[in-house]
């Protein structure tokens, strides 16, 4: 139980810090907005083309913005060596990861859902009728991205070339999240929209495997 109470306290701190500064949410939102607007003007897609290629474009933008968002996750803990203070205070180091991945998932999900509406307008795709189903797909995708991104952020924050290391490690590793997320989103954009449980099953499996690995081995990622 102490694990969850520790994680809740840390999550509150992460949310408090972000909602005070708006650093991550603003950066990620602006990045995704730029991608959506630029692609819309460059290709000027029809509604059918948008339904075909839009999900891939959306998820690529989410992925790149996530790598921007995850970068400071552990890097900021190095500034005053607050990571050491946290390691001495929590009962289980997984509490630190749990709080950070929950915070990252929440930030990513907020950005995704806000920008989904902009995407709907620019690409002429009806998103409101399937909004709850899309939110579910985005939640599973965000959880996968955040779990992997948070773990890799802990690794890269200790490395010398930390700014380039995270995207280099993160992007190839997230292919198994990108494909099912884009396919599940595409199925919801089609005229006869439906939840594709085959793709969602893959996403759930990825989330469970990476969460379990982080729970088992996360402690070693925090060591000096």
């Amino acid at each position: 139980m102490r694990l969850f109470s520790n994680a809740a306290v840390l999550l509150q701190k992460e949310l408090q810090a972000e909602f005070r500064s708006h650093e991550l949410l603003t950066t990620a939102s602006v990045f995704i907005l730029i991608v959506i607007v630029l692609f819309s003007f460059t290709f000027d897609p029809t509604s059918a083309e948008s339904r075909q290629f839009g999900p891939g474009l959306l998820w690529l933008a989410f992925l790149f913005s996530a790598s921007l968002m995850m970068q400071p996750s552990f890097l900021k803990e190095r500034t005053n060596d607050t990571l050491s203070a946290l390691r001495l205070a929590v009962c289980d180091p997984f509490a630190i990861f749990l709080a950070k991945l929950c915070a990252n998932s929440i930030f990513l999900l907020i950005t995704q859902l806000l920008l989904l509406l902009v995407f709907g307008v620019f690409y002429n795709v009806a998103v409101l009728s399937v909004f709850p189903q899309l939110a579910f797909v985005f939640f599973l995708g965000s959880l996968g991205i955040s779990t992997t991104g948070t773990a890799l952020s802990a690794i890269s924050s200790q490395a010398r070339m930390r700014e380039v290391l995270l995207p280099l490690l993160l992007l190839p590793l997230l292919v198994p999240v990108l494909i099912p997320s884009a396919e599940a989103t595409k199925a919801l954009f089609e005229a006869e929209h439906k939840l594709r449980w085959d793709w969602l099953g893959m996403l759930i499996a990825f989330d469970v495997v990476f969460l379990t690995a982080l729970w088992l081995f996360g402690e070693y990622l925090l060591e000096e």
Partner: protein, 231 residues
């Protein structure tokens, strides 16, 4: 998971080595610190003081050797109060938020009351709602010390705790360490030469190139340890 205990305990280093790449920060260190001792650790820059404290706090795993806490049973871990070179506080949070955060993480029964007590003791009550980034180095250090004292630590590890402190704050820190020593808490602090802090110590030890070169409990020879390395 280990159960954190607040009762005083000692620490035993058995042939502890720590290597960073090819550089030895600690070299086959054998040292036993008894429960309730107050050790002033001295040595030149790079002699291994910080590494010793980080290994003792279990933030750093030794490359070789063994670290143990003789008074603790299996499944028990010491409650450690640690002050490092870096202040280990969140600059974007206020002084009160910083202390409340760590008090809640440590599971302290009345976090607000304990936070208020420590803010009062460190003279930060009037600035409790100010972000820590607006603090001077000395104020940040006082907040860092308050964080380390949140729970009754069984062991206090202080890495140059006097850094940035003015005369009044230094007097407060010295009195606090003296009180903790008198309560029987184990204290290990790195100091540079003689100071009011080193006068509180019951033992002086000197490190050189990661090894223990002088160690004494005889107060009369502390000066020798601090200045010459010969006990």
């Amino acid at each position: 998971m280990s159960q954190r205990v607040s009762r005083p305990c000692g620490i035993k280093f058995k042939k502890v080595e720590k290597k960073y790449g090819s550089v030895y920060a600690l070299r086959r260190l054998d040292m036993e610190i008894a429960a309730g001792e107050c050790v002033a650790l001295t040595g030149r820059n790079g002699s291994g003081k910080t590494t010793l404290l980080r290994v003792a706090s279990q933030l750093t795993r030794p490359t070789r050797g063994e670290l143990s806490f003789p008074e603790l049973g299996p499944g028990e871990a010491p409650a450690i109060g640690y002050v490092s070179h870096a202040v280990m506080i969140y600059e974007e949070l206020t002084a009160e938020e910083n202390l409340l955060l760590f008090a809640r993480l440590l599971g302290i029964a009345q976090p607000k009351k304990r936070t208020a007590e420590l803010l009062e003791a460190t003279g930060l009550t009037t600035r409790k709602d100010a972000a820590a980034r607006t603090f001077s180095r000395g104020m940040k250090q006082r907040l860092a010390i308050a964080r380390a004292l949140l729970e009754e630590p069984s062991m206090l590890l202080l890495d140059e705790p006097g850094t940035g402190l003015d005369t009044d704050s230094m007097a407060w820190l010295t009195a606090t360490i003296r009180a903790l020593r008198d309560q029987g808490r184990t204290i290990v602090m790195s100091v540079h030469g003689e100071s009011s802090l080193s006068q509180v110590a019951t033992r002086a030890a000197r490190l050189d190139s990661g090894g223990l070169v002088a160690d004494t409990r005889n107060g009369a020879t502390f000066q020798n340890v601090f200045w010459t390395g010969i006990a």
